[in-house]
């Protein structure tokens, strides 16, 4: 058992902590969604369970557990159960390579707050997230219901189309950073704004270099999470419940819950890739005056704050924009996003070459 080292135990503790935080944030995102939708539509929203409705997620989960579990007679039983399990499993695996903070130092031990320091972090996230489509596809097909099948097929072709655009949009940022490791990408954004030395540190975010790349990536994240305006897989006006028409009890709960977990992960990835990750303006100043550990803890809070801001953005869009039609969705994905992403790669390459030739 030599692999059970101190470092392994620390990483395990971090993983379990991240796990609990993810579940908590996803649970309260459901409440936040209802509160925000209520706010945007001038309603009150849930306010009966606990003060300000704060116990609503618990009540919802309890209700889901005690609902009748229902499996259609004509469905494939095993796949019917596998679908939501897979959706939830893949959603919860993705947060493993996110750098949640800089290093903590206690005496001689240095702890890096990244559950797995993978050098291929981005590829890992892409791999796990793209497995998520299997959960939807299997669940929809296994239900043996026409609405579910249509929803599942729509979900599959939408997800793969936008995954392609997502893969293209990230190439430009890889050219800039020269690394596939999310830890490296986050720590590279620690410098000052455009490298101007008198500006506060921790503001050299990739968004200032890659605005188009960010817009493409963000749009694709919406599509990957099946969020409005790309929520055609569960478009209730024509497909009843989409791929989860036949689902009930906590099986339905896992599908809905995995969407919120995916949103949180998408928020974390977008913050890390484009918005400086755990860096914030004046990070060096805090580290110098109050110690590295304080700066790191503040960084963790800042990263979570950025992710929550993205979740709010997701919800804001949901209650603002109407849904696309299917051909519009596919045209946007294939005929606009992919050429734009390629253009972005070419321009980024040109700029990097100019910079290398004249400014180094």
């Amino acid at each position: 058992m030599e692999f059970i080292t101190f470092e392994f135990l620390v990483k395990t503790a971090i993983i379990l902590l991240v796990f609990v935080i993810t579940l908590g944030i996803a649970a309260y995102s459901t409440l936040a969604e209802r509160k925000i939708s209520a706010f945007l539509q001038d309603r009150i929203g849930p306010n009966r369970a606990g003060p300000f409705g704060l116990l609503q997620p618990l009540a919802d989960a309890g209700k889901m557990f005690f609902k009748e579990e229902f499996i259609p007679e004509t469905s494939s039983k095993f796949l019917f159960i596998l679908g939501p399990s897979l959706a939830m499993l893949t959603a919860m695996m993705a947060s493993a390579v996110i750098p949640f903070g800089d290093t903590l130092q206690f005496g001689d031990t240095v702890i890096n707050i990244q559950p797995v320091e993978a050098n291929i972090g981005i590829l890992y996230i892409f791999g796990v997230v793209s497995l998520g489509v299997y959960g939807v596809m299997i669940g929809g097909w296994a239900s043996n219901n026409k609405f579910s099948l249509l929803g599942a097929i729509r979900a599959a072709s939408q997800n793969i189309s936008y995954e392609l655009a997502m893969g293209f949009s990230i190439i430009a940022i890889l050219m800039m950073t020269g690394s596939l490791s999310l830890g490296d990408i986050a720590s590279q954004q620690k410098g000052s704004f455009f490298g101007i030395s008198w500006l506060p540190s921790g503001t050299n975010w990739n968004i200032f270099y890659q605005p188009l790349g960010f817009i493409l990536f963000c749009t694709c994240s919406f599509a990957e999470c099946n969020r409005t305006p790309f929520d055609l897989p569960e478009c209730e006006s024509e497909l009843v419940g989409g791929y989860h028409t036949e689902y009930s009890s906590m099986k339905l709960g896992l599908y809905l819950f995995s969407e919120y977990v995916n949103m949180f992960v998408a928020g974390l990835v977008m913050s890390t890739l484009y918005f400086g990750g755990y860096n914030y303006p004046g990070v060096d100043f805090v580290a110098a005056n109050f110690g590295q550990n304080i700066a790191t803890f503040l960084g963790i809070g800042v990263l979570l704050g950025k992710a929550l801001a993205f979740i709010f953005f997701f919800m804001w869009i949901r209650w603002t924009l109407p849904r696309f039609r299917y051909d519009q969705l596919m045209n946007l994905g294939w005929k606009s996003m992919i050429p734009l992403a390629i253009l972005n790669v070419v321009f980024t390459g040109g700029f990097i070459m100019l910079k290398e030739m004249f400014f180094s």
Partner: protein, 126 residues
């Protein structure tokens, strides 16, 4: 340069076990806790309240399959670009702009195929 060992990825197993345990416990709990009152009508597939007609496993539009095949093709081409993108700065310092021109050629080929696919009407949704 940091060296990576297989043991560095062990925490992934922990994450997987935690996620799997959560899913399994949830599934078993919801199976045991909920009531079960089955009936023949209730167990039928839902189809707007009328009796379900036939099976849902019917042939579906070829467009979806074409989209899937195109995805596989283009995704492989994207993956070819990743190693190039990661090493772009270093390669440029070593070899100059030829590395950029080569990738432009690759992208031109890719876009030519893309143009052909669009002209063929594969992405035309009625």
């Amino acid at each position: 340069m940091k060296q990576y060992f297989p043991s560095d990825y062990l925490p992934l197993l922990v994450q997987f076990s935690a996620a799997a345990a959560f899913v399994v416990v949830t599934m078993i709990a919801t199976h045991l806790l909920g009531p079960k009152r089955n009936s023949k009508v209730k167990d039928a597939a839902w189809e707007c309240g009328i009796e379900a007609k036939g099976d849902a496993r019917t042939p579906i539009s070829i467009k979806y399959f074409l989209t899937a095949i195109l995805f596989v093709l283009f995704d492989i081409e994207v993956i070819f670009m990743y190693p190039w993108a990661v090493n772009f700065k270093e390669l440029f310092r070593e070899m100059g702009s030829v590395i950029f021109v080569e990738m432009l050629l690759f992208m031109a080929l890719l876009l030519a195929g893309f143009y052909y696919v669009i002209k063929k009407g594969v992405l035309k949704w009625e």
